[in-house]
Symmetry: D3
Subunit: 135 residues, 6 copies
């Protein structure tokens, strides 16, 4: 159960309906997933969040679409968001993620988690050599 | 300050020295960064951690080296490990990360953090459509 | 399923029963939610935790009750505690949280998550101007 | 040290300079804090982030400005962002946060952290009574 | 539902089957829990992860087996991993954890969460007295 | 720098002074570390937090003092609290933690972090076998 009702198309007001329609058109599918139906509890939040997702993930940019999905999964795992892990793993597969690439993703996430905890446990001070701002 | 002394080459025993030498050889540099000098407090932990880093990050695999560094940074940011953010941002740059790619990474990490928190706040249940295990 | 049985009133010993009764009296309801029934696995932990909740959340203080619930939800979201998100969103509504206030809460939580991750990714050093301890 | 140089006014291009000027005008101060000077590494990210901060935090809305700052601090603490804790504690004071209100904030954050960890340790299932979507 | 199918014994290739058999032999049980059946999506990741679990948790070392399980639970709670909380609470009980020890664990985890958040909120600088590296 | 001044003995009012004196007496040292001097910004919060630390960590209970410190460190690492990592690593050493025990702690924390992230990435559903509440 969610903390708000999931808005159906019939119950959606025109602002919400416009976003749902744009999600469908952008993705070439009739399906609007539950995150958007929950977020529709506030039309302004729905609009700004969808606009940001479309701008960052949907447009061609310096990183290809699959790489961006892998980064999205990595953050979602570390933040413990089960919903996001599921939705973006599905998106990555839809963008062509192979089993071998997924295995690589898991291996890097697991390794980073391990060294993150070790560096924090040891409180290692940052090496001056990493300073990007030195002349 | 760290919770353990940072081991110098002179103070390192042969097992530790062998790892330090392998780090230098693998990276083509004389510099051994502080994470390894702190981890050397336990030679077994140093050996298994370095072996895992070398295996996951150093070998050619389904994802290219730069993509793996971007995923590493993403996890490190979400886990709040300042040391790891610095060291892997430096590694990504050494592997050719452009300013535009870095800007893309920041945009995806920021967006994921935002939707992670929204999905958790709304407690959105996972859509059956995301089930990878359905026939 | 939980890691311990949820204690029913019938199975509760007098110390536990006294806390359950105080929860009922303080809230003006017969319902004791599952968190307390699980925590009752250790009567001392139940007593100290309920005493703290009652002291911090139940008493009139410098912040009003609704504001304290909003802060509680915010921490629970960032810590990824689904149970706490649900129970305190319900509490906030019981204290009069409007849909517009909830939308505001979501917007601030999402924004903070975004800038938290950006500041950590960029490792921005704290401005001396923020030093509250300067003369 | 940060992962990118902090951009001075002299080095800023017109897009960045426009944001810096709007920060100054909106806040009625000459000071532009380091977060924005680091974020300026990507003008688009600077523009969208500042626009969001201004929209969410700067406009009058269902929650007053101080309450929004308290929520911002709470998320930043739970996410472990030292920079954000400092900058938003300073903002809350600038918006009139009293010592008693700050003590209340600390007490609620500490209590939420405690019960978040207990509910997660006990894996308490959500009570149906919390379901906001029931008829 | 998981993001990958849970591999049955019948579907397992020889490398995976060898790990499943070693799990059974090491634990003296026929049951292979779902974590390993999911991880089997990548035989190499399954092998390295099981080898590490066996090496760290299964061997006699400076800390006894129960203490290591308690530490494992503590990390899993703070990282919000429900699966791990359940599996390692069960392991701790199998290694003899009493109700009183479990209550102690919960009390320490709750206290640490509370002071972690307070120290982060207050941004307390580390005392030089804690420096382990001073002469 | 902290978000509040660190209270000196001279500036402390009688309630704060009483806690500082009890810290000294309980620990058999003249040193009061900075966490308490910052927390003293609110005497009530100082009193309840110190009382809880003394009750949970200072009294003999089902787990010995060193084990409790190891659990405290583990939570503090996963929550990313540098101050707490330092102070409780120092406490664990003061209670006799050997280098081998510290190495074990690091190994378990690193392993737990790794499997926590893997279980979250794979979204493994909890095995019914772990249900402690079954008859």
């Amino acid at each position: 159960m969610s903390t708000v009702p999931l808005l159906s198309d019939d119950a959606a007001d025109p602002r919400v309906r416009a976003v749902f329609d744009d999600i469908r058109a952008s993705r070439g599918t009739d399906y609007v997933n539950r995150f958007w139906r929950a977020l529709a509890t506030d039309p302004a939040l729905l609009e700004t969040t969808w606009a940001e997702v479309k701008r960052v993930m949907g447009q061609s940019s310096a990183l290809d679409g699959l790489t961006k999905e892998l980064i999205y999964i990595a953050v979602s795992v570390a933040n413990g968001c089960g919903y996001c892990v599921h939705s973006h793993t599905a998106s990555a597969r839809a963008r062509g993620m192979s089993d071998a690439q997924y295995a690589d993703l898991l291996a890097v996430v697991a390794l980073a988690a391990r060294t993150n905890h070790l560096a924090t446990a040891l409180q290692v001070p940052v090496d001056p050599a990493f300073d990007a701002t030195r002349a």
